[in-house]
């Protein structure tokens, strides 16, 4: 029983990170109706951003208490990735705005490969250790359960970011514009919404969340490499689809579910008789099942094609 609760907890911590990445997929899908294939790679860049910011500011950061140092690294990396996300949209996706969605998807695959292989050239292909921004210690007094400080921070940061995001989307003018755009782009434009600004903002926001996810992920599994974004990216995408793509609470819920399922499958794979090598296929099997049986996801709406 203890082991089960432990696995469940581990799954929720991992799921929190998936949720952060899934939000980016879902928001971009909401306003542009396309899958930003390169989103997992922005997540990777976020982790590397953290690594390099930490390297550059090491003397300063060492003097600060660790929560503050973490905040500095995280905010810096989020800002960098937000700028990158906006730039990607501006140079690669914006010229295609009136083209078929599939063209944009192909471009996004190109962008994804470009980031990965340029990353390989710049950062090197090997894994690099990620600095201990969060003290590697366990929280005591939980009986048989093991919870690390990193896991606690993951939950705290994710919760804070989700609340912040909810505030932006529900309470600000830009958030209102985002919602309007996702419902009907033409009508939103006619009502004076500057769609370009809103789309840029959405990419920036999504990329910043991915960057935060990247740093948390790299703190949880302390190493980084240029291809580290692929698997979490896929799982987060599955999470977004599971929750109902375009639906923000859905993405958060989906992330949690995928995190838990993955951890439980990995933890119990031997008992279930699944070779652990099949782990990489699990996310896809879930995805295929959702798309075949409930393509609108848990919280999404059914879209009917107008004839």
């Amino acid at each position: 029983m203890d082991q089960f609760v432990q696995q469940l907890l581990n799954g929720l911590f991992l799921g929190a990170i998936y949720a952060l990445i899934a939000l980016g997929y879902t928001m971009v899908y909401g306003v542009l109706r396309f899958i930003n294939f390169a989103h997992g790679d922005v997540f990777m860049l976020g982790a590397f951003g953290g690594l390099y910011v930490h390297k550059a500011l090491a003397p300063l950061l060492n003097a600060l208490p660790w929560p503050l140092a973490l905040a500095v690294v995280m905010l810096a990396s989020m800002a960098i990735c937000a700028a990158l996300g906006i730039a990607i949209e501006y140079f690669a996706y914006r010229p295609l705005r009136t083209r078929p969605r599939l063209n944009v998807l192909i471009t996004a695959i190109g962008v994804s490969l470009f980031i990965e292989y340029t990353g390989q050239l710049v950062f090197g292909a090997t894994q690099q250790p990620f600095p201990a921004l969060i003290p590697r210690q366990n929280i005591s007094g939980l009986g048989g359960l093991t919870v690390t400080m990193t896991q606690v921070i993951v939950v705290v940061v994710t919760t804070a970011l989700l609340i912040g995001l909810r505030y932006i989307v529900m309470r600000t003018r830009l958030g209102l514009a985002m919602r309007a755009l996702s419902l009907n782009p033409t009508a939103a434009a006619l009502m004076g919404v500057n769609t370009s600004v809103v789309i840029s903002f959405t990419f920036g926001l999504g990329s910043a969340l991915a960057a935060a996810g990247g740093i948390l992920y790299a703190s949880l599994y302390p190493s980084v490499d240029p291809f580290m974004g692929i698997q979490p990216g896929i799982k987060a995408f599955v999470a977004a689809v599971l929750g109902g793509i375009g639906n923000i609470p859905g993405a958060a819920l989906g992330g949690m579910i995928i995190g838990v399922v993955e951890t439980l499958v990995t933890g119990y794979s031997q008992k279930l008789g699944i070779p652990s090598g099949y782990k990489e296929g699990v996310a896809f099997i879930i995805l295929i099942l959702i798309l075949l049986f409930k393509p609108s996801g848990l919280l999404g709406k059914v879209e009917r094609e107008k004839v």
Binding site: F34, I35, A92, P95, L96, R99, R101, L102, N103, V104, L105, I106, T107, I109, G110, V111, S112, L113, F114, E116, Y117, T118, Q120, L121, F237, P275, G277, Y278, E280, G281, F284, I285, L287, I288, L291, L292, P295, E305, V307
Partner: protein, 325 residues
């Protein structure tokens, strides 16, 4: 003469088969390295033309073509490695004929297994469109790779290490003969009243149905036939290099094929053939700069989509005028 004109498509096919046979007989005179690149180009032509049937003509964006190629490669290699000796024995020992028969059986088994996989992917994917379909086919590709990767390392498929010692049956004749057949099949099918259905499905499924086009059947035919030829290409690939491993049939290989289709022009058989040859050559040029290869290809993909999404050699409209009856 008139007869030749009337059946020119078939005449072209026969000519192509004849030429590949003649070149094959003389292939000892071709530099080994050059010959290998030519054969790789031929295999890429098959892959690109067959993917073009699915992605270009029928408009069902598949990101998993390398998965079908992998199934064909593994299954055909398994036939010629595991059953090859007994087939050769049945035919009275090694000879050009018995090797040929073994290879044909191996290729057909590979192609048919891939076709079955194509059917298995195609049927459930019928309910999906656009980017969802793309992601699901990518998923199937990865699942196929993961399955081969997790086979026992002592079994016939060799797990992550893959298979070795596959006989080198792939000659110029086989590669280009099959490439010619593939081009013939796709081109002549599409260029018929029956084949206009593929293009109609791509343009508008609702309107297609209301014109009496069975969209489901067309999509399945495209997936199955595309996968069949990808399986043949995989078989040729396995019997060209003599060794295969699961990584060679992953997402990146699928992207390679997609770049050929996009560069040539979706739906343009000629363009796709030219692009397959060009990209094979470019790939060789970049062999010494492996680090830059994918960067170049990814930029190519992005720039093409922005500047010339219809491809370098897009489809042109056939001139139709009423024949004086």
């Amino acid at each position: 003469m008139q007869l030749l004109l009337k059946y020119r498509t078939q005449a072209f096919l026969l000519l192509a088969l004849l030429v590949s046979f003649v070149v094959s007989q003389a292939s000892d005179n071709i530099d080994g390295y050059v010959l290998q690149i030519m054969l790789v180009a031929g295999i890429n032509i098959i892959l690109a033309v067959s993917l073009n049937l699915v992605n270009g003509h029928t408009g069902q964006f598949s990101l998993g073509h390398a998965g079908f190629m992998g199934v064909g490669a593994y299954m055909s290699a398994a036939v010629s490695v595991e059953m090859g000796p007994s087939i050769l024995g049945l035919l009275g020992g090694p000879s050009t004929l018995s090797h040929g028969v073994t290879f044909v059986i191996a290729l057909l088994v590979g192609g048919l297994c891939a076709a079955v996989c194509g059917w298995m992917v195609g049927v459930p994917s019928l309910r999906l469109r656009g980017d969802y379909l793309a992601i699901v086919t990518l998923g199937f590709n990865e699942i196929i790779r993961v399955v081969f990767q997790n086979t026992s390392s002592s079994g016939p498929f060799g797990g992550a290490l893959g298979m070795r010692g596959i006989p080198d049956y792939s000659t110029f004749f086989w590669v280009f003969g099959i490439a010619a057949i593939c081009i013939y099949v796709v081109a002549s099918m599409v260029n018929s009243t029956y084949g206009r259905g593929f293009l109609a499905v791509r343009d508008d499924e609702v309107a297609s149905e209301s014109m009496g086009v069975n969209t489901v059947r067309y999509k399945v035919v495209a997936f199955v036939l595309g996968a069949f030829f990808a399986g043949l290409a995989g078989g040729l690939y396995a019997h060209l290099f003599g060794a295969i491993d699961p990584k060679g049939f992953g997402f990146l290989k699928s992207v390679d094929i997609i770049i050929m289709v996009i560069l040539g022009g979706m739906g343009s058989t000629l363009g796709v053939v030219v692009a397959a040859i060009g990209l094979t050559a470019l790939n060789e040029q970049l062999r010494d700069a492996e680090k830059f290869r994918m960067i170049v290809f990814s930029i190519l993909l992005i720039v093409m989509m922005i500047v010339r999404p219809q491809g370098l050699l897009p489809v042109t409209f056939e001139k139709k005028r009423r024949k004086s009856a």
